[in-house]
């Protein structure tokens, strides 16, 4: 709450400045209202200010309102209990004190209503200010509850207010990333986080029912921003920072229990994920899934549906889903039929070019590290990777060739792929079927890794060096893939640029720009200027 307070102090001074220009000074009026009940009707002026066109006025009015109602809440001048209609209040028999408090309670409700509307204001300053004010009011309301606690079982927390705030934050029309990131600091408070999670779940449920499962990118983006910024505590003892202190019943309060938090977190995510998502949203979620979502769920296996669906999507999304699946298989005993077959089919030329290459190969290395895998499977993987290596850039090749070698090292019966002395003299066609989806039927074991032989004449000397290793029996210890995963093209280049030995020169003297190199550039296609082109045509 510290930053909010500070902000408040500053805005007070600004509001004081603004007051000089404005005809009516909201903060002065507020002071009067607080001082004496006679000036109670001035509250209407202040509320009018809230609707003003000018940004500065609005901001000062927001701050003034906030101060006013916080003060009133502290004095318990607002009506506590079930509120009656204003008309009913006028007609009914009430003493002056009650009437005043009811009146003020109604004004309070109006103010909150307006502030919530301001959360979708066009100016960010107003939005931020309204958010801060609302949260302060929420804190105050939590401290001095407006409901009768005597008869209600539940604990005091301004749930409706939070629900309102969350509802406005998750706008369907506007990207609220900035505001949500401002809101994130309130999420550090345990109880706010808990109620926000449940509010998000309610909100998502209702919105998605209305949209009938259609994709609403902006809304879903907002939800994701809010939801992904929730940082879950890892231990019960970390639950200390509360916005509202409960005097009694604290130990029974759900918001104070880690398990409840986890359950709520889980329900929120499941509620969000069960709907159809845009594909880039899939990627974003899958990227953070394994380290910030799965560990905080009370029952991670519930994610299986989502992950299986993602795995079946294909392309980069499948690659990413692999990570979550791995955790489920590894830690939660998930049995996934045809896992390796699907993994095999994930191997496409694009795996060497996508951003998630390192992650994918790291996992693939893990999956294939078992020595209990059948030989045909490993051979199929090795052969397929080798085939794909024909289209890979050098930085990937430097990684995938040792990967293949490691496969062969782990499974000595795969050695026939690089060493088949029995039929050495009989030449044969490559029996491997690239298009076959089932690794059993791909005939990989009957083939040889001619691709690596081809790569021995790769243009990059490092690749050539690595590829040359198949000419001799492989060394026994496995190579460490992890260091090779992150090599980039630029690093390779730097490596070569650094070498400053003597530079051999071309001995054929250059006379023209387009000479040499077999004359491909000169004779076949290119000329200098438009003129010659025009001549030709």
């Amino acid at each position: 709450m510290a930053p909010a307070k500070k902000r408040n102090v500053c805005s007070k001074t600004t509001s004081a400045n603004a007051a000089k220009k404005a005809k009516i000074d909201p903060s002065l009026q507020v002071q009067q209202i607080i001082d004496s009940r006679k000036n109670a009707n001035d509250v209407f002026d202040v509320l009018d200010c809230l609707q003003s066109e000018k940004e500065k006025e609005v901001i000062s009015a927001i701050n003034a309102c906030c101060n006013l109602f916080v003060a009133l809440l502290e004095r318990k001048d607002l009506f506590i209990g079930k509120l009656i209609d204003e008309e009913a209040m006028l007609t009914g028999e009430h003493n002056a004190q009650d009437k005043y408090s009811m009146f003020m309670r109604h004004r309070y409700n109006d103010c909150v209503e307006t502030l919530l509307e301001h959360l979708v204001h066009k100016s960010y300053g107003v939005k931020e200010c309204a958010l801060v004010a609302l949260m302060k009011l929420a804190a105050a309301e939590g401290q001095y509850p407006l409901e009768d606690l005597d008869w209600s079982e539940h604990v005091s927390f301004p749930r409706t207010l939070i629900l309102g705030v969350v509802g406005r934050l998750l706008s369907k029309a506007e990207d609220n990333t900035m505001l949500i990131s401002r809101f994130t600091e309130y999420l550090e408070m345990v109880d706010v986080r808990y109620y926000v999670m449940s509010s998000v779940r309610e909100n998502v449920g209702s919105v998605m029912v209305k949209s009938k499962g259609e994709v609403i990118p902006v809304y879903q983006n907002n939800v994701f921003t809010l939801v992904s910024s929730i940082i879950m505590p890892s231990q019960e003892s970390e639950l200390t920072n509360f916005m509202v202190k409960q005097k009694d019943k604290h130990s029974e309060w759900k918001a104070a229990k880690l398990n409840e938090h986890k359950r709520s977190f889980e329900r929120m995510w499941l509620g969000f994920l069960k709907n159809k998502l845009p594909s880039n949203m899939y990627k974003k979620i899958l990227v953070i899934l394994h380290d910030s979502i799965l560990p905080n769920m009370s029952n991670p296996t519930l994610m299986i549906d989502f992950l299986t669906a993602a795995y079946d999507v294909g392309g980069a999304i499948s690659l990413l889903a692999l990570n979550g699946l791995f955790i489920l298989i590894h830690h939660h005993n998930l049995d996934y039929p045809d896992f390796y077959k699907k993994l095999y089919n994930l191997l496409e030329p694009s795996v060497f070019h996508v951003k998630y290459r390192a992650r994918f190969f790291h996992l693939a290395n893990l999956f294939l590290s078992s020595t209990h895998l059948p030989v045909y499977l490993v051979a199929a993987f090795a052969k397929r990777l080798a085939r794909l290596a024909l289209t890979a850039p050098p930085e990937s090749l430097l990684m995938v060739l040792p990967f293949i070698y490691n496969l062969i090292r782990r499974h000595p019966s795969c050695r026939v792929l690089v060493h088949r002395p029995t039929t050495a003299d009989e030449s044969c066609e490559d029996p491997y079927l690239m298009d076959e989806e089932d690794p059993i039927l791909s005939h990989a074991l009957e083939s040889s890794l001619w691709e690596i032989k081809t790569l021995q004449s790769h243009y990059h000397p490092d690749v050539t060096r690595v590829a040359l290793k198949i000419n001799k029996p492989l060394s026994v210890p496995e190579e460490d893939i992890d260091e090779l995963l992150e090599i980039t093209n630029f690093e390779l280049m730097e490596r070569d640029l650094k070498a400053t030995k003597n530079v051999p020169l071309e001995f054929e003297p250059a006379k023209k720009l387009l000479q040499g190199g077999g004359g491909i550039l000169a004779t076949c296609f290119w000329s200098f200027s438009r003129r010659s082109a025009a001549d030709a045509s």
Partner: protein, 878 residues
């Protein structure tokens, strides 16, 4: 037990009384350790032992130390003899006595005699008592002969060297005479001093006189000497020395050197016939090609780093000759102009050239005149300073072709240029037109240029000139700043390379790109590259690094990056021109190839212009590997992707495109013809390089034409690739996507026949490739040689020492051994000590017992006698 002890002590006594030689010769003392066999070269210390001697020695020692300790065990006080050397066993007793005596004396002297004037001590001279010397006072020591020959009186000698003897004797004499002391000691000494001073003075005067006499004699001699003979005296010669050699040496040395350096009618080298020249050239190329192949295979790159041949000074000269066809006639003036003046004058000339373009001819003549004057001036100056060098130069000028690189002399360069000028016309005569052109160029360009210091100056230098003139300017700038002319020139020219490169980039970037100019400038760039390989590689590498880094940043920022612009394409081509692209690993070409591949695999194709740029890159890539036939996966991917752009049905399967291409998407129809009939009007022509920079195609027809040109280029490249990789083991796998795409999905029905022909050719090439290969096997390893039975002979130089270990191991072993020995020795000693102590203790108790027994016996005895006496007394009483 007492007995043996006694015996031993007796033995000891005997031993002590005998000399060591006696003991050693005594056969009863000696114990011989018999050896079973002799080992050659081993020294044995322990073949003879004297057990008795050593035992008694040990016992004595124990008695001195251990026993004493034991005896003083529980005693609180102790007697310590503080006399000097009392406990020092090493000292002789005589020495001890002497030391003690001298210490005693010293002590006495220090304390008592401090203020004692009447010395009691005996006065000595050279360790002899003066009193004793008195006895033979006239004896002269031959060693103490005085310095002054023949000047010594007996008295002086006595007074000086007799010490106090003389005085004493005198005194004694006086004493004898009984007269009282006449002079005090002080007076005597003063007298002595006076005497000696007087004598000294006398000697000095005599010396001076002698010297004067000699001088006079010399003069006299000189005056008659000339009469005696014409031969110059030694003194005269000495006097004349400083002047003479200048004249004489000069003439003589000149003569000698002239003889030495005189042109001997050496046979000049035979003029080579054209066939010979051609053969030499062929041999040179073959050698270079072999070298290139070696680098391509990459096996010996590290093992034999060789300096580039062009770096030799001869090749610097080649640099001149290379552009002889158009620059020779000019070089004459350049050289001449420059040789006289240097840079400042060069600037002047520059200005003049600009000012008076009309009267250029006259100007030239003037310049020449000036030039000659200057040259003479220089020569004269040289004459004045140093005649020798002048000679050298003359000698050089006869054979300057061989030795020009050795001399930094400007005049020499000038001559060199002259020579070249003489040779040049013969070469050029054939090209009359070119010469005419040069004449024209000559008429308007200045002859010297200062090397530009920055890019701005460089651009200003070349701006506004035609490409040919720019070449000439560059050539002249190079020549004016040839590294052999001044120290800083090398650096200037190295910078010039960078400027030229940048200038080319600018030209390529300008619109329209001035590729013609670039083309003209290439030979200049090549020459400079040959001259300064390091500077060239540095400049190009930094260009590559910048471009690559820029692309990386773009990719990280926005995820997409534009294709490299035309200047980068030109740079890449320049790299291929200046450096061998076929090397296994090359500091410039390898990164360049990496950059090309990076561009081909990372830059998304979004427009026809991108297609064009990409195709240029493909061409470049193909050129790079045309000799080495290396595999370029990115190239095939890109070509496949380009073909995919022309496929009408994007849902087709059977092949997959690799990023940056997408199977279907916004820009995946770039090469689809918009109007099929446009193919009728299309003719195949070469694409202008400039299109990579600006591609404005207004109407559909032109666009379609461009598409078809691109497609034909692409197909042509695929064909080239087929040829290039046809020997590859996985040829079919490499070309499978392209094959599928061409055969199934790219009909080309509406396209011109040329394209269809290309397509069928490619398909035939792919189908015709051999599909079967031998399975892979490891390389046959060299069989491990069988174990041989001939003994392994190792030369052993140090017998008896442990071998086969490292120094540390040996050291630790030695230490361990030593420790063990010491430990055992210590144990043994302790045991012996214990035994000794036990013996001593036993002896002690026994002696105590016997003493007691004796006393008891005595008592008994006395008692007995008492008793006896008493009994006797009683008996007597009875």
């Amino acid at each position: 037990m007492v007995k043996p002890q006694k015996k031993r002590s007796l033995v000891d006594k005997v031993r002590k009384s005998k000399t060591s030689a006696e003991i050693k010769n005594n056969p009863f003392e000696v114990k011989i350790n018999r050896k079973k066999f002799e080992v050659l070269g081993r020294k044995s210390k322990h073949d003879v032992g004297l057990p008795g001697v050593s035992r008694s020695k040990a016992i004595n020692k124990r008695k001195d130390t251990l026993l004493k300790e034991h005896q003083n065990k529980h005693k609180s006080n102790k007697f310590i003899d503080r006399r000097f050397g009392e406990y020092d066993t090493n000292m002789d007793p005589e020495d001890k006595i002497l030391e003690r005596f001298s210490m005693e004396r010293q002590k006495q002297h220090d304390k008592k005699d401090m203020f004692n004037l009447n010395e009691e001590e005996e006065l000595t001279h050279y360790g002899q008592s003066l009193a004793e010397m008195e006895k033979f006072n006239d004896l002269m020591d031959s060693d103490s002969e005085p310095d002054e020959k023949g000047l010594l009186s007996a008295e002086l000698t006595r007074s000086h060297f007799g010490g106090g003897g003389g005085l004493l004797r005198k005194k004694a004499g006086d004493d004898k005479g009984g007269a009282p002391r006449a002079k005090s000691r002080q007076e005597l000494i003063e007298e002595l001093i006076q005497k000696s001073k007087l004598q000294k003075r006398e000697r000095q005067v005599q010396k001076e006189e002698t010297f004067e006499l000699t001088e006079k004699l010399d003069k006299d001699w000189k005056s008659i000497q000339t009469l005696l003979a014409n031969k110059p005296s030694k003194a005269e010669r000495d006097e004349l020395q400083p002047e003479k050699p200048k004249v004489q040496l000069d003439e003589y040395d000149m003569m000698v050197r002239e003889l030495g350096f005189e042109m001997k009618a050496a046979p000049s080298e035979k003029l080579k016939t054209p066939e010979e020249l051609a053969r030499e050239e062929r041999e040179r190329l073959q050698r270079l090609e072999a070298d290139r192949l070696r680098r391509m295979l990459g096996d010996a790159v590290e093992s034999a780093p060789k300096a580039p041949a062009h770096l030799s000074a001869d090749d610097l000269n080649d640099g001149f000759i290379l552009d002889k066809d158009d620059k020779k006639p000019l070089s004459y003036k350049d050289g001449k102009w420059l040789s006289g003046e240097g840079e400042d004058k060069g600037d002047e000339g520059d200005d003049e050239g600009e000012d008076e373009e009309g009267g250029e001819e006259e100007e030239e003549e003037e310049e020449e005149d000036e030039e000659e004057d200057d040259g003479e001036g220089v020569a004269v100056g040289d004459d004045d300073e140093d005649g020798d060098e002048e000679e050298d130069e003359e000698a050089d000028s006869h054979s300057d072709l061989d030795s020009e690189q050795e001399s930094g002399e400007e005049a020499e360069i000038m001559e060199e240029e002259e020579e070249e000028e003489e040779a040049a016309p013969g070469v050029i005569l054939t090209e009359e037109e070119l010469k005419a052109q040069q004449e024209a160029a000559k008429s308007e360009l200045p002859y010297t240029f200062t090397a530009p210091e920055n890019q701005g100056e460089f651009v200003a230098l070349l701006k506004g000139h035609s490409p040919d003139h720019q070449c000439v300017i560059l050539a002249r700038t190079q020549k004016c700043n040839h590294p052999s002319l001044a120290v800083g020139n090398k650096l200037k020219l190295q910078k010039l390379f960078g400027f030229l490169l940048e200038y080319m980039g600018d030209l390529a970037c300008s619109s329209p790109p001035e590729l013609g100019t670039i083309d003209k400038l290439i030979p200049q760039l090549y020459d400079m590259g040959q001259m300064f390989p390091d500077a060239a590689s540095k400049a190009l590498r930094s260009a590559l690094a910048d471009a690559s880094h820029g692309m990386e940043e773009d990719l990280e920022g926005s995820g997409r990056s534009p294709f490299p612009s035309l200047d980068m394409l030109v740079y890449l081509k320049v790299v291929a021109l200046l450096f061998p692209t076929s090397d296994y690993r090359h500091p410039v070409t390898t990164p360049a190839l990496l950059f090309i591949c990076q561009s081909l695999s990372k830059c998304p194709v979004t427009s026809l212009q991108d297609v064009t740029s990409g195709l240029v890159l493909c061409c470049l890539a193909l050129e790079y590997v045309s000799l080495s036939k290396r595999l370029l996966p990115e190239l095939l991917n890109f070509l496949c992707g380009i073909l995919h752009l022309a496929v009408p049905d994007k849902t087709s399967t059977g092949y997959s495109v690799v990023p940056p291409f997408k199977h279907a998407g916004k820009h995946s129809d770039l090469l689809l013809l918009s109007e099929p009939q446009s193919s009728a009007t299309w003719t195949n022509h070469t694409l202008p390089l400039a299109l990579t920079q600006h591609l404005e195609l207004t109407d559909n027809l032109h666009r379609d034409h461009h598409r078809m040109t691109c497609l034909s280029t692409c197909l042509d490249l695929v064909k080239h690739c087929c040829v290039l990789y046809k020997d590859s083991a996985s040829f079919t796998a490499l070309f499978q996507p392209i094959h599928t795409l061409l055969s199934k999905h790219l009909p080309l029905q509406t396209h011109p026949e040329v394209l269809q022909e290309l397509k069928t050719e490619i398909l035939a090439a792919v189908d015709g490739a051999p599909r079967s290969h031998n399975p892979l096997v490891f390389e046959k390893q060299k069989p491990i040689p069988l174990r041989m039975f001939t003994p392994k002979i190792v030369e052993v130089l140090d017998y008896g020492k442990r071998r086969g270990n490292t120094k540390e191991q040996k050291e630790s072993e030695r230490t361990k051994h030593k420790y063990k020995k010491e430990f055992k020795g210590a144990l043994r000693e302790i045991r012996k000590d214990n035994r000794f102590m036990a013996r001593e203790k036993l002896q002690e108790t026994m002696s105590r017992d016997s003493e007691r027994k004796r006393k008891v016996k005595e008592l008994y005895g006395s008692l007995g006698t008492q008793e006896g006496e008493w009994k006797a007394l009683r008996r007597r009483k009875k």
